[in-house]
Protein backbone atom coordinates (compact mmCIF):
# COMPACT_ATOMS: atom_id res chain seq x y z
CA UNK A 1 0.00 0.00 0.00
CA UNK A 2 1.32 3.43 -0.84
CA UNK A 3 2.21 5.66 2.07
CA UNK A 4 -0.11 8.43 0.96
CA UNK A 5 -3.08 6.08 1.38
CA UNK A 6 -2.64 6.26 5.16
CA UNK A 7 -4.44 9.08 6.88
CA UNK A 8 -2.15 11.58 8.55
CA UNK A 9 -2.31 10.88 12.24
CA UNK A 10 -1.63 13.32 14.96
CA UNK A 11 -1.26 11.06 17.94
CA UNK A 12 -1.08 13.80 20.51
CA UNK A 13 1.09 14.17 23.58
CA UNK A 14 -0.99 11.67 25.60
CA UNK A 15 -0.27 8.82 23.18
CA UNK A 16 3.39 9.85 22.91
CA UNK A 17 3.78 9.81 26.69
CA UNK A 18 2.05 6.42 26.92
CA UNK A 19 4.28 4.99 24.17
CA UNK A 20 7.50 6.35 25.67
CA UNK A 21 6.42 5.17 29.12
CA UNK A 22 5.78 1.61 27.79
CA UNK A 23 9.21 1.53 26.09
CA UNK A 24 10.96 2.87 29.21
CA UNK A 25 9.13 0.30 31.37
CA UNK A 26 10.01 -2.61 29.01
CA UNK A 27 13.66 -1.53 28.82
CA UNK A 28 13.97 -1.20 32.59
CA UNK A 29 12.27 -4.59 33.08
CA UNK A 30 14.91 -6.16 30.80
CA UNK A 31 17.69 -4.34 32.71
CA UNK A 32 16.50 -5.30 36.18
CA UNK A 33 15.22 -8.74 35.10
CA UNK A 34 18.77 -9.76 34.14
CA UNK A 35 20.46 -8.24 37.18
CA UNK A 36 20.69 -11.48 39.16
CA UNK A 37 22.18 -13.63 36.39
CA UNK A 38 24.70 -10.86 35.64
CA UNK A 39 25.68 -10.45 39.29
CA UNK A 40 26.26 -14.20 39.53
CA UNK A 41 28.15 -14.64 36.26
CA UNK A 42 29.86 -11.24 35.65
CA UNK A 43 29.58 -12.24 31.98
CA UNK A 44 30.63 -9.37 29.67
CA UNK A 45 28.05 -10.11 26.97
CA UNK A 46 25.30 -9.83 29.58
CA UNK A 47 26.75 -6.55 30.85
CA UNK A 48 26.61 -4.94 27.39
CA UNK A 49 23.17 -6.42 26.67
CA UNK A 50 21.80 -4.88 29.89
CA UNK A 51 23.51 -1.54 29.25
CA UNK A 52 21.88 -1.40 25.82
CA UNK A 53 18.42 -1.45 27.43
CA UNK A 54 19.41 0.97 30.20
CA UNK A 55 20.68 3.46 27.61
CA UNK A 56 17.55 2.96 25.54
CA UNK A 57 15.40 3.76 28.61
CA UNK A 58 17.44 6.93 29.25
CA UNK A 59 17.20 7.94 25.57
CA UNK A 60 13.43 7.50 25.68
CA UNK A 61 13.21 9.53 28.84
CA UNK A 62 14.84 12.39 26.94
CA UNK A 63 12.69 11.70 23.89
CA UNK A 64 9.73 12.25 26.18
CA UNK A 65 11.36 15.44 27.43
CA UNK A 66 11.96 16.70 23.86
CA UNK A 67 8.38 15.94 22.82
CA UNK A 68 6.99 17.53 25.93
CA UNK A 69 9.05 20.68 25.36
CA UNK A 70 8.17 20.93 21.66
CA UNK A 71 4.48 20.22 22.33
CA UNK A 72 4.15 22.55 25.29
CA UNK A 73 6.28 25.45 24.11
CA UNK A 74 7.19 26.92 20.81
CA UNK A 75 10.71 25.56 20.19
CA UNK A 76 12.01 28.92 18.99
CA UNK A 77 10.64 30.64 22.08
CA UNK A 78 12.32 28.05 24.30
CA UNK A 79 15.63 28.45 22.49
CA UNK A 80 15.38 32.22 22.77
CA UNK A 81 14.69 31.98 26.48
CA UNK A 82 17.30 29.35 27.21
CA UNK A 83 19.76 29.51 24.32
CA UNK A 84 20.97 26.00 23.44
CA UNK A 85 20.47 24.72 26.98
CA UNK A 86 17.15 22.86 26.71
CA UNK A 87 16.52 21.96 23.10
CA UNK A 88 20.08 21.22 22.02
CA UNK A 89 21.08 19.52 25.27
CA UNK A 90 18.05 17.22 25.10
CA UNK A 91 18.75 16.44 21.45
CA UNK A 92 22.42 15.75 22.21
CA UNK A 93 21.59 13.47 25.14
CA UNK A 94 18.89 11.64 23.15
CA UNK A 95 21.22 11.05 20.19
CA UNK A 96 24.13 9.96 22.38
CA UNK A 97 22.13 7.52 24.52
CA UNK A 98 20.11 6.06 21.64
CA UNK A 99 23.24 5.55 19.50
CA UNK A 100 25.05 3.98 22.45
CA UNK A 101 22.12 1.64 23.13
CA UNK A 102 22.49 0.36 19.55
CA UNK A 103 26.28 0.12 19.90
CA UNK A 104 25.99 -1.76 23.20
CA UNK A 105 23.59 -4.23 21.57
CA UNK A 106 26.08 -4.77 18.73
CA UNK A 107 28.95 -5.08 21.20
CA UNK A 108 27.07 -7.64 23.33
CA UNK A 109 27.14 -9.97 20.31
CA UNK A 110 30.50 -8.84 18.94
CA UNK A 111 32.75 -8.73 22.03
CA UNK A 112 33.61 -12.44 22.03
CA UNK A 113 35.02 -12.16 18.49
CA UNK A 114 37.40 -9.37 19.52
CA UNK A 115 39.74 -11.63 21.51
CA UNK A 116 39.85 -9.50 24.65
CA UNK A 117 40.16 -6.15 22.86
CA UNK A 118 37.71 -4.17 24.98
CA UNK A 119 38.93 -0.78 23.68
CA UNK A 120 36.39 -0.83 20.84
CA UNK A 121 33.66 0.28 23.23
CA UNK A 122 35.54 3.59 23.69
CA UNK A 123 35.50 4.01 19.91
CA UNK A 124 31.71 3.48 20.01
CA UNK A 125 31.39 6.18 22.71
CA UNK A 126 33.43 8.56 20.54
CA UNK A 127 31.27 7.79 17.46
CA UNK A 128 28.06 8.30 19.50
CA UNK A 129 29.32 11.68 20.76
CA UNK A 130 30.31 12.67 17.21
CA UNK A 131 26.86 11.64 15.93
CA UNK A 132 25.14 13.62 18.68
CA UNK A 133 27.24 16.70 17.87
CA UNK A 134 26.62 16.25 14.14
CA UNK A 135 22.86 16.05 14.73
CA UNK A 136 23.02 19.49 16.36
CA UNK A 137 25.51 21.12 13.97
CA UNK A 138 24.03 19.83 10.68
CA UNK A 139 20.41 20.73 11.01
CA UNK A 140 19.48 18.83 7.86
CA UNK A 141 16.80 16.17 7.26
CA UNK A 142 18.79 14.26 4.63
CA UNK A 143 21.79 14.20 6.92
CA UNK A 144 19.72 12.69 9.76
CA UNK A 145 18.23 10.06 7.46
CA UNK A 146 21.62 9.17 5.95
CA UNK A 147 23.24 8.96 9.39
CA UNK A 148 20.58 6.62 10.72
CA UNK A 149 20.53 4.48 7.61
CA UNK A 150 24.29 4.10 7.95
CA UNK A 151 23.90 3.25 11.64
CA UNK A 152 21.29 0.58 10.91
CA UNK A 153 23.21 -0.97 8.01
CA UNK A 154 26.48 -1.18 9.95
CA UNK A 155 24.67 -2.58 13.02
CA UNK A 156 22.82 -5.17 10.93
CA UNK A 157 26.00 -6.25 9.13
CA UNK A 158 27.94 -6.52 12.43
CA UNK A 159 25.25 -8.66 14.07
CA UNK A 160 24.71 -10.83 10.99
CA UNK A 161 28.43 -11.49 10.51
CA UNK A 162 29.05 -12.07 14.18
CA UNK A 163 26.16 -14.47 14.71
CA UNK A 164 27.03 -16.40 11.52
CA UNK A 165 30.64 -16.90 12.52
CA UNK A 166 30.90 -20.72 12.69
CA UNK A 167 33.40 -20.46 15.54
CA UNK A 168 30.79 -18.89 17.78
CA UNK A 169 27.68 -20.46 16.38
CA UNK A 170 25.40 -21.49 19.24
CA UNK A 171 23.48 -24.75 19.29
CA UNK A 172 20.10 -23.13 19.86
CA UNK A 173 17.75 -21.02 17.73
CA UNK A 174 19.18 -17.90 16.18
CA UNK A 175 17.92 -14.66 17.61
CA UNK A 176 19.54 -12.43 15.01
CA UNK A 177 16.33 -11.84 13.01
CA UNK A 178 14.69 -10.30 16.08
CA UNK A 179 17.90 -8.34 16.77
CA UNK A 180 17.89 -6.87 13.26
CA UNK A 181 14.16 -6.09 13.50
CA UNK A 182 14.80 -4.56 16.90
CA UNK A 183 17.63 -2.42 15.52
CA UNK A 184 15.43 -1.31 12.63
CA UNK A 185 12.78 -0.07 15.03
CA UNK A 186 15.39 1.61 17.24
CA UNK A 187 16.66 3.53 14.21
CA UNK A 188 13.15 4.35 12.91
CA UNK A 189 12.28 5.70 16.34
CA UNK A 190 15.37 7.93 16.29
CA UNK A 191 14.33 9.18 12.83
CA UNK A 192 10.77 9.81 14.02
CA UNK A 193 12.04 12.20 16.69
CA UNK A 194 14.70 13.90 14.53
CA UNK A 195 12.52 14.20 11.42
CA UNK A 196 8.94 14.15 12.76
CA UNK A 197 7.30 14.74 9.36
CA UNK A 198 9.12 11.84 7.70
CA UNK A 199 7.15 9.13 9.46
CA UNK A 200 4.04 11.04 10.44
CA UNK A 201 1.75 8.95 8.21
CA UNK A 202 2.90 5.64 9.61
CA UNK A 203 3.61 6.72 13.17
CA UNK A 204 0.87 4.62 14.76
CA UNK A 205 1.99 1.57 12.78
CA UNK A 206 5.60 2.23 13.79
CA UNK A 207 4.67 2.56 17.46
CA UNK A 208 2.58 -0.63 17.49
CA UNK A 209 5.31 -2.57 15.67
CA UNK A 210 7.99 -1.21 18.02
CA UNK A 211 5.97 -2.21 21.04
CA UNK A 212 5.38 -5.70 19.58
CA UNK A 213 9.13 -6.20 19.04
CA UNK A 214 9.85 -4.90 22.54
CA UNK A 215 7.26 -7.24 24.06
CA UNK A 216 8.80 -10.22 22.19
CA UNK A 217 12.26 -9.32 23.51
CA UNK A 218 10.90 -8.72 27.02
CA UNK A 219 9.00 -12.03 26.99
CA UNK A 220 12.11 -13.92 25.84
CA UNK A 221 14.30 -12.18 28.43
CA UNK A 222 11.94 -12.78 31.35
CA UNK A 223 11.31 -16.38 30.28
CA UNK A 224 15.00 -17.16 29.86
CA UNK A 225 16.23 -15.30 32.92
CA UNK A 226 13.68 -17.13 35.03
CA UNK A 227 12.26 -13.94 36.58
Amino acid sequence: MALYAFPVLNLGIGAEILYSFAIILCSLMVYFGTREIYNLSSYKGLKYFRLSFLFFAIAYFFRLAIEFITATFNVHEVLELYPIAIGYASLFIFMYFSSMSIFYLIYSVLWKNLKGNSKMIYAFHAIAIAMALAAIIFNNVLFYLGLNLLLFLSAGIFIYLSSHNPKFKSKKNRFDKVYILFLAFMVLNIISILVPTFLETIKLLLYLSSLSVFFIVLYKVLKKSGD
Partner: protein, 89 residues
Protein backbone atom coordinates in the same frame (compact mmCIF):
# COMPACT_ATOMS: atom_id res chain seq x y z
CA UNK B 1 35.12 -18.55 23.97
CA UNK B 2 37.36 -17.75 26.92
CA UNK B 3 34.60 -16.28 29.05
CA UNK B 4 32.24 -19.21 28.49
CA UNK B 5 35.17 -21.41 29.48
CA UNK B 6 35.49 -19.39 32.67
CA UNK B 7 31.83 -20.00 33.54
CA UNK B 8 32.24 -23.73 32.96
CA UNK B 9 35.35 -23.85 35.14
CA UNK B 10 33.50 -21.91 37.83
CA UNK B 11 30.58 -24.34 37.72
CA UNK B 12 32.87 -27.41 37.80
CA UNK B 13 34.85 -26.08 40.75
CA UNK B 14 31.81 -25.10 42.80
CA UNK B 15 30.17 -28.44 42.06
CA UNK B 16 33.26 -30.31 43.28
CA UNK B 17 33.00 -28.42 46.59
CA UNK B 18 29.26 -29.10 46.86
CA UNK B 19 29.66 -32.81 46.08
CA UNK B 20 32.35 -33.04 48.74
CA UNK B 21 29.73 -32.22 51.40
CA UNK B 22 30.60 -28.52 51.06
CA UNK B 23 33.88 -28.95 52.91
CA UNK B 24 37.09 -29.53 50.98
CA UNK B 25 40.81 -28.94 51.49
CA UNK B 26 42.43 -26.56 48.96
CA UNK B 27 44.94 -29.28 47.94
CA UNK B 28 42.12 -31.73 47.20
CA UNK B 29 40.21 -29.09 45.24
CA UNK B 30 43.36 -28.29 43.23
CA UNK B 31 43.78 -31.96 42.35
CA UNK B 32 40.13 -32.52 41.46
CA UNK B 33 39.80 -29.29 39.46
CA UNK B 34 42.60 -30.40 37.11
CA UNK B 35 44.06 -26.90 36.90
CA UNK B 36 47.71 -25.93 37.05
CA UNK B 37 48.85 -24.67 40.43
CA UNK B 38 49.33 -21.09 39.24
CA UNK B 39 45.97 -21.05 37.41
CA UNK B 40 44.23 -22.47 40.49
CA UNK B 41 45.80 -19.85 42.75
CA UNK B 42 44.54 -17.07 40.51
CA UNK B 43 41.11 -18.67 40.16
CA UNK B 44 40.78 -19.35 43.88
CA UNK B 45 41.56 -15.70 44.67
CA UNK B 46 38.73 -14.73 42.31
CA UNK B 47 36.32 -17.16 44.01
CA UNK B 48 37.11 -15.59 47.39
CA UNK B 49 36.96 -12.04 46.08
CA UNK B 50 33.57 -12.59 44.45
CA UNK B 51 32.34 -14.39 47.56
CA UNK B 52 31.48 -17.70 45.91
CA UNK B 53 33.45 -19.52 48.63
CA UNK B 54 34.62 -18.98 52.19
CA UNK B 55 37.62 -20.29 54.03
CA UNK B 56 36.91 -22.22 57.22
CA UNK B 57 39.46 -23.40 59.76
CA UNK B 58 39.30 -26.59 61.76
CA UNK B 59 42.27 -26.74 64.06
CA UNK B 60 45.32 -26.01 61.93
CA UNK B 61 43.66 -27.12 58.76
CA UNK B 62 42.12 -24.85 56.14
CA UNK B 63 38.94 -25.84 54.32
CA UNK B 64 36.86 -24.32 51.53
CA UNK B 65 33.08 -24.09 51.68
CA UNK B 66 30.43 -22.59 49.39
CA UNK B 67 28.68 -19.36 50.35
CA UNK B 68 24.96 -18.82 49.64
CA UNK B 69 26.12 -17.02 46.45
CA UNK B 70 28.05 -20.13 45.43
CA UNK B 71 24.95 -22.30 45.90
CA UNK B 72 22.86 -19.74 44.01
CA UNK B 73 25.30 -19.81 41.08
CA UNK B 74 25.02 -23.61 40.83
CA UNK B 75 21.25 -23.37 41.02
CA UNK B 76 21.12 -20.73 38.25
CA UNK B 77 23.99 -21.98 36.07
CA UNK B 78 21.76 -23.62 33.45
CA UNK B 79 19.59 -20.49 33.21
CA UNK B 80 22.70 -18.31 32.71
CA UNK B 81 24.13 -20.55 29.97
CA UNK B 82 20.74 -20.87 28.22
CA UNK B 83 20.31 -17.10 28.29
CA UNK B 84 23.77 -16.49 26.82
CA UNK B 85 23.11 -19.00 24.03
CA UNK B 86 19.59 -17.72 23.30
CA UNK B 87 20.77 -14.13 22.81
CA UNK B 88 24.13 -15.02 21.23
CA UNK B 89 25.97 -13.04 23.90
Amino acid sequence: MAKRGRLEILEDTLRIIKENKNFIKPTVLLRKSKMSSSRFKEFYAELLEKRFVNEAHRGDERFIELTPKGFKFLERYKTIVDFIEEFDL
